[in-house]
């Protein structure tokens, strides 16, 4: 249990979603164990003792966006509602709990909200998330909330500007020191085409790790595949891209076996991209600026209400097409393949980026980094223009 706690604390630090040393994790087996920053691990343990699920993560995020969102929300608001696909599908909304409500029994107030939702924002504390089935889930839910807040905050700032004292300075620090350009420099990729199953699997494992280590993708949110002959090798559903050993499903393209039932929910999209483009490698992740920028649309008087699933336009962000569509058996598997062939990249509204490589992963990796870098540039260009 302790080793698991340390593993997830390490991951949170490595993906830079928590402030240095500011994480507490509690895990419950037949006894409770908690570790981390004393105040946060005590809080995590107190919350957990009221929930009796396998785990709770309490941490101060590396960026103050969740806190700002809470304070920017209307006085009566009980939750913030990010509109990215991740939130719409899995989180629904993110409850907020204010300083006053935390006064008497902070763990009680937080636990009450966590008995209905996966993660909450607590003013002055940070993000607290629980794992109803496993400890890993608490880590995943923390990441989801962090991601959703990040995307929502940068969009809100673009739309409404800074409203609170301290926001502008914090945002400047984020822009100037926190953000680092994404790059493939120094990484080595196998040149394709790859044929031998062992070679394919080991390249997928390595590239999966690179995408997380280089900050292109949060560990749990993305998928990766390679087509060799009549087999698609694809990461499994609910797999972490930096831990793909044993988590890659070979799926025969003729559907003679259903063993791929555990493959990523995006298998239909990957399959159709292969059919439509002749690519051999596909990467998919949720880089934050690309997600945010895809949701900023300036079409006037559009009749569509649920843009994220019903928009039928192909918009362009620079030279990258943006389409809408739900996860899995929903629409993105229909809308992405026709647009990704030429540019080798596409953004799904409020969701993430798909990129392809004709022979190997290097091309897909570089274009994913490139899409996100350009979305950052475009974002700051618009922000500066607004000011």
């Amino acid at each position: 249990m302790r080793s698991l706690i340390r593993k997830y604390a390490g991951k949170l630090h490595r993906d830079r979603s928590v402030a240095d040393g500011r994480v507490g994790i509690a895990a419950l087996d037949d006894v409770m164990i908690s570790e981390g920053a004393p105040d946060l691990s005590r809080l995590a343990a107190d919350v957990l003792s009221r929930l009796s699920c396998p785990g709770v993560v309490a941490a101060s995020p590396s960026l103050p966006f969740a806190e700002f969102l809470l304070r920017r929300a209307n006085a009566g608001a009980e939750a913030i509602v990010p509109l990215d696909t991740e939130t719409r599908t899995f989180l629904h909304d993110i409850p907020i709990v204010r300083r006053e409500e935390l006064a008497g029994d902070p763990a009680g107030a937080i636990a009450a909200l966590l008995s209905g939702r996966k993660g909450v924002i607590a003013e002055g504390v940070g993000i607290v998330a629980s794992g109803p089935v496993t400890l890993e889930q608490a880590y995943i839910h923390y990441s989801s909330v962090f991601h959703a807040c990040h995307v929502k905050y940068i969009l809100d700032v673009l739309r409404e500007g800074f409203l609170l004292p301290g926001e502008e300075e914090a945002f400047r620090a984020f822009r100037e020191t926190f953000l680092r350009p994404l790059t493939a420099e120094g990484l080595s990729f196998r040149a394709g085409p790859l044929d031998a199953p062992e070679e394919v699997l080991s390249e997928i494992r390595a590239v999966g790790r690179h995408t997380v280590e280089r900050g292109l993708v949060d560990s749990f949110f993305g998928n990766i595949s390679y087509r060799a002959g009549d087999t698609i090798y694809i990461s499994q559903t609910a797999a972490s891209l930096d831990e793909l050993s044993g988590c890659i499903d070979p799926v025969p393209t003729d559907n003679r076996s259903t063993a791929g039932i555990t493959a990523s929910s995006e298998l239909p999209a990957h399959r159709r991209i292969y059919e439509a483009t002749g690519a051999r490698a596909i990467l998919h992740g949720h880089p934050k600026f690309a997600v945010a920028m895809s949701m900023s649309c300036d079409v006037k008087d559009c009749p569509v209400e649920d843009c994220w699933k019903d928009c039928t336009r192909v918009r362009m962000l620079g030279d990258t097409p943006v389409v809408a569509g739900e996860i899995g058996a929903g629409g993105l598997a229909v809308r992405v393949p026709p647009v990704i062939g030429g540019p080798g990249k596409a953004i799904v509204y409020g969701h993430g980026v798909f990129t392809t490589g004709r022979d190997g992963f290097e091309e897909a990796f570089r274009s994913m980094a490139d899409v996100e870098n350009r979305c950052r540039e475009e974002y700051f260009r618009r922000l500066d223009a607004r000011a």
Partner: protein, 572 residues
Amino acid sequence: MLVVDLSSGRTLREEIPPERLRAYLGGRGLGVRLLRERHTLSPFDPAMPVVFAVGPLCGTPAPTSARLSVVSRSPLTGTVYDCSAGGRFAWRLRAAGLLAILVEGRSPRPVVLAVTSAGEELLPAEGLWAKTVGETARALSDRGSVAAIGPAGENGVLFSNVMMGEGNAVGRGGLGAVLGKKNLKAVTVDGDRTVPIADRERFDRARADVLRLFRASPVIFGEFGISGYGTPALVDLMRRRRMAPTENFRHTVFDGAEAYSGPAIRAAYGAEKEGCFGCPIRCRKRASDGRSLPEYETVSHFGALNGISDLHAIVRSNDACNDLGMDTISAAATLSAWGEARGRFPSPEEIVTLLHDIAHRRGEGDLLAEGSRRVAEALGKPELSMSVKSLELPAYDPRGAYGMALAYATSNRGGCHLPAYSISHEILRKPVASDRFSFSGKARMIKIAEDANAAVDSLVACRFAFLGASLEEYAELLAGATGEHRDPKSLEEIGERIWLTERFYNARNGFTRADDDLPARFFTEAGTEGEGIDVPPIDRARFGEELTKYYRIRGLRDDGSFPDDGFLERQP
């Protein structure tokens, strides 16, 4: 609720106190509560009730909730017994203005209970006695939905089912025989009442959330999901994970499994989608000639477990069980144990004859009708019954999933995968994956899942819905439907109450830690290794340690007993 005393023929509609529904929801929870005063009666005692109960979501468009639970005490296992079933019956029961039917007593002659929103009557059923389930359902088809027993239930086969006319089964524990002893051949329900929705907007929002999660789940709506292939989608997966019980669990890989995989069944029979009323998943599959196609458990047990790779023979076995009103898992597993004991597994040709012999208790069928534990004991080889608390294990080898191993042992109804449904995380990676070859953390995970699923069976929703959605969305559906706020945690607490009540009943009936155990084979023999996967025997000491942890987490003593006798009195 409708109470029917079959001995006197009296029927009575009575109100269920609202606080009881708040404390137990409906379905399984309500049924278990209604057994309180009589849980120590023998399953065949005329006074032992059988409860058919729907839940608060039934009759609403909440996805997968046109289901009911049937609760009584099992003659096969001796435990309290619940089983959830879909089809249209549950929905029509609610439309008849009822949440539950409790039948008790013993009718002097065969009868059919016919219920409508206008009232109920007991109809003479001598003419239907000895008829198959299909014949009975057809004869009663103008009376709405039918739940009936077949010859197996009439003849007291300990694993006889109550079958819904649409082909869904109230399976496993032999509740068909309990109805048979009561001389109740069938129950029909029909009605025209609708169920109001308290907060339409909230309900619709939750429903949209659930459907979105279904679509995002590869197991449900993915290319290889159960919506497309039905549960036989699992055949190839279990083969690849090397945990498909083969030849009475002597091996865990069966080379002939391809013959009855999801794609093979679709190629041979068409596999049109069919489902429980209003279910968007529609996991049930029907052949182009109209018959119900078998589920994963059925194909695997009539297949691998008996060493058979003839798809048509497997489908015929399934047809026979459905028509005779008999559980496919227990039937196939009993034949397999018997096969190993006599040194030869039954051939495809023999099986259908044997199934008829069992249902009519003819020749060897008379012993086989008692289930694998009694068969193996009678043959002097008790170790060959692959069962827990006399319930035959389904088609997930516990050496390939340690949470499942623990859950088979702790299940209140005996060796079954459904109460904790740990294949969800151990195999299907939903909502997240857990390490299937490790016991670490499993005690708590199993406890939480058992509680959550007891709540699910009381709502009543389908297990498969939770391969996409979670109690979070279902709590919202419930709040929308009833106007009463519930969060997932409070639902789990209800589930915990139900679970402990069941365990308490079992303890009263003599069940102890010694019954929470797996057949010795799993601790001494390895599964079939290969393709980089090792399937060692389960470490008995580690298993015992996790079981102790499980009891502690449940607030029980280390020997699995309750710390005091007052548990029931403290429950609402």
